[in-house]
Amino acid sequence: MNISFQIKNKLTELVTLHAHLKNMQDDWAISKKTAAQINLVLDELVTNIIEHGDSENEHIIEIDLARTDCEFSIVITDDGPPFDPTLRTPPDTTLPVEERQCGGLGIHLVRNLCSHCNYVRANNKNILTLKKNLQEKCS
């Protein structure tokens, strides 16, 4: 099973993203928890692209999703300026509240919810590939 769709580099497009994922959850019989995790991964990465990218001009973000019995894969492609979210320093989640900072939490969540996260820049595009084990099917 696979689907592809495109959104623009605006935060309001997160609603469109959510609507696509809601349909996918129903069509592909994905659990509510896994669907929420996939939504979070896409939300964090797309928000990064929008906030760190070229907000002056309209860009297209392409999202390709596929699943097999055991694995869910995500490819996010955008033609904005080069941006590698995987280089972000992970936050120290053990610090007391007074010392905690907000930065890097999004990619920290992505790393924890995915088994594989890879960035390449090719053909003037940012290409992020993520994989997630679907344990409910493969335990």
């Binding site: 689907i3 769709f5 935060l11 309001t12 997160l14 609603v15 469109t16 959510h18 609507a19 696509h20 809601k22 349909n23 996918m24 069509d27 509510k32 928890k33 929420a36 995790q37 939504n39 979070l40 939300d43 964090e44 928000t47 906030e51 989640t93 053990t94 610090l95 007391p96 509240v97 007074e98 905690r100 907000c102 939490l105 999004g106 920290h108 969540l109 924890n112 919810l113």
Partner: protein, 124 residues
């Protein structure tokens, strides 16, 4: 894939604020993400500037939270840490609780299973 008209409506997160004698309860409903976080931050700003009661975030009807939402939660926890009042949370769905745990927020925010547990704890 066709999107139904209903599914693409931009429904903002709804917040209900209830004042109890010694606690202010924020009941969150919907999705706390980059779209709704700025509005939510405005709503809690006054309470964080000068806490005058305990603060409870009731997540019972919150379907989703992203790091943009966590940012507001962290600011609330920081503000209340420096005050004589408590900031606590309750009634999280599994996947919302998981986000708190991965982020390490459960180490500095007390999370109760229900609003009754939270209110009882505040009376102790």
């Amino acid at each position: 894939m066709q999107l139904t008209r209903e599914s693409v409506q931009n429904k903002p997160m709804e917040t209900t604020i209830t004042q109890k004698s010694d606690a202010t309860i924020f009941s969150l409903c919907g999705r706390l993400d980059s779209n709704s976080a700025p509005q939510f931050e405005k709503q809690v700003q006054d309470f964080l500037a000068s806490p005058g009661t305990h603060l409870v975030f009731d997540f019972d009807n919150l379907d989703y939270i992203s790091s943009a939402g966590l940012r507001v939660i962290l600011n609330a926890a920081k503000a209340y840490k420096a005050s004589p009042y408590n900031f606590i949370a309750c009634s999280m769905q599994d996947h919302v609780l998981e986000v708190f745990e991965i982020s390490g927020f459960d180490t500095f925010i007390t999370i109760h299973p229900s609003i009754d547990d939270s209110l009882s704890a505040l009376k102790e």
